[in-house]
Amino acid sequence: MATFFGEVVVAPSRAGVDDEEWAEETPEDRDIRKELEKKREIDVLWTLKSGAAAESPAEGPSACSRFIVAMGRNAAAFLSSFILDSVCWEVVGVVKLWNEWCRTSSTTNVLPTDSFCLFYRLISDPTVLLCQCSCYVAEDQQFQWLEKVFGCMQKEGLQVIVLSTCPVADYKTQESTLTLPSPFLKALKTEEFKDQVCCPLLEQPNIVRDLPAA
């Protein structure tokens, strides 16, 4: 494609096509790819019962009735400000991951400005779990995160609540987003969720993507 100034460039495409993607891999390419994949693996580490620091992927929570997940800095900050405290909640796990945007560690002693992904349990009702995920989980890690975190839990009778934020500018509506009273809440729910939802449902054509969607 030629631009106005006469330079020939490859046209960008919404489809995100990569033609070289499936060219035959050399053994070196394969090794590099496998190394990168290993580096991008996610580890979910649960604190052992004795309260020692998480060292190995011990068994996850045995029973879980309610799992609240906060994704992104805003949602994580909401939980820190209004829900979490050291009296009622205890840390029971951590997710260790690396990608180009952030790295989390296995330490559970974090600052609000760090990137972290921690699991808490309500002391008075150990079947209530909470996850605070302020780090960015890359596209290729999202499925892994999902499988490894939910893989540890029983799904029978489990209620999951996902808290997340999106920029108002991304919200599609007939009027301009400038006139919208923000912030505002919208929800998406599965058919099986029978409880009352406290806000309107998200209208088409708006969608949610990435880890909250997963």
């Binding site: 495409s13 489809a15 995100g16 096509v17 919200y171 088409q204 054509p205 990435d210």
Partner: protein, 244 residues
């Protein structure tokens, strides 16, 4: 099985939206896959408040038993390095479910056309050898144009020709894999550019309809496709009045 390739202008996907919406197809399942970027939203084909609350995700399957038609819709881009695994999983599903034939709707960069392709129809087709035997004659009758091959080494050696579908996403990979597995696959594609691709989607859907006759169309009148409610606001929200 009718499905789109995630390709330039998302034309295949838009055309599939038209098919599902017009034929009021029922959702029968979905792909639980790590190959596509996750997304979720409410029912994109909602017609009433009641049916607007069904969740919809990135890869869903719809069916219309009366026409023996199954449609796969893909709603998000592929994750890097996942093209091949997805194609392999998809084709083994096609084989294990004993699907008769696959029709893939796709598109290709218009700016990569050569001088001859710039003239005439921008629509092309491809058939795997197994399907060529069955419907090759019909394509001749419809006066359809087969996708041209290009020189493998342009300028150096013009005799060796290869299939090249720039901007086509998984189209070429799926097609070549289907050829080698003996799967009956047809690819219908349109040359286009990124922009308002709704007219391209209509053109591709009408092209498909010439062959499969999914909906009635009178001579000299375009078939009546129903635009899904999710196509609202394709180019963003309303404009602030203060701008003027």
């Amino acid at each position: 099985l009718l499905q789109p390739a995630v390709s330039v202008g998302n034309v295949g996907q838009l055309a599939i939206d038209l098919v599902i919406s017009t034929l009021k197809m029922t959702k029968v399942g979905y792909f639980y896959t790590d190959c596509l970027v996750p997304m979720v939203g409410n029912n994109p084909y909602a017609t009433t408040k009641a049916n607007s609350m069904d969740l919809s995700i990135n890869a869903e399957v719809y069916a219309l038993p009366s026409k023996k038609l199954v449609v796969l819709q893909i709603r998000s881009p592929f994750i890097k390095n996942k093209y091949r695994p997805f194609c392999q999983t998809l084709l083994s599903w096609v084989e294990s479910s004993k699907c008769d034939r696959v029709v893939l709707l796709s598109s290709s960069h218009a700016y990569q056309r050569d001088d001859e392709q710039l003239l005439g129809t921008p629509l092309r087709y491809l058939l795997t050898p197994d399907l060529e035997k069955a419907v090759g004659g019909l394509m001749q009758e419809l006066n359809w144009k087969e996708m041209e091959k290009v020189a493998a080494y342009p300028g150096i050696n013009d005799t060796e020709k290869v299939l090249h579908i720039p901007g086509g996403g998984i189209t070429k990979l799926l097609f070549t894999e289907s050829c080698s597995k003996g799967i009956q696959m047809a690819v219908l594609l349109k040359f286009c550019s990124e922009g308002d691709n709704i007219p391209d989607a209509f053109a591709l859907a009408n092209y498909l309809n010439e062959w499969l006759k999914l909906i009635k169309s009178r001579v000299n009148t375009a078939a009546q496709w129903k635009i899904p409610s999710s196509w609202r606001l394709l180019f963003g929200s309303g404009v602030p009045p203060a701008l003027f």
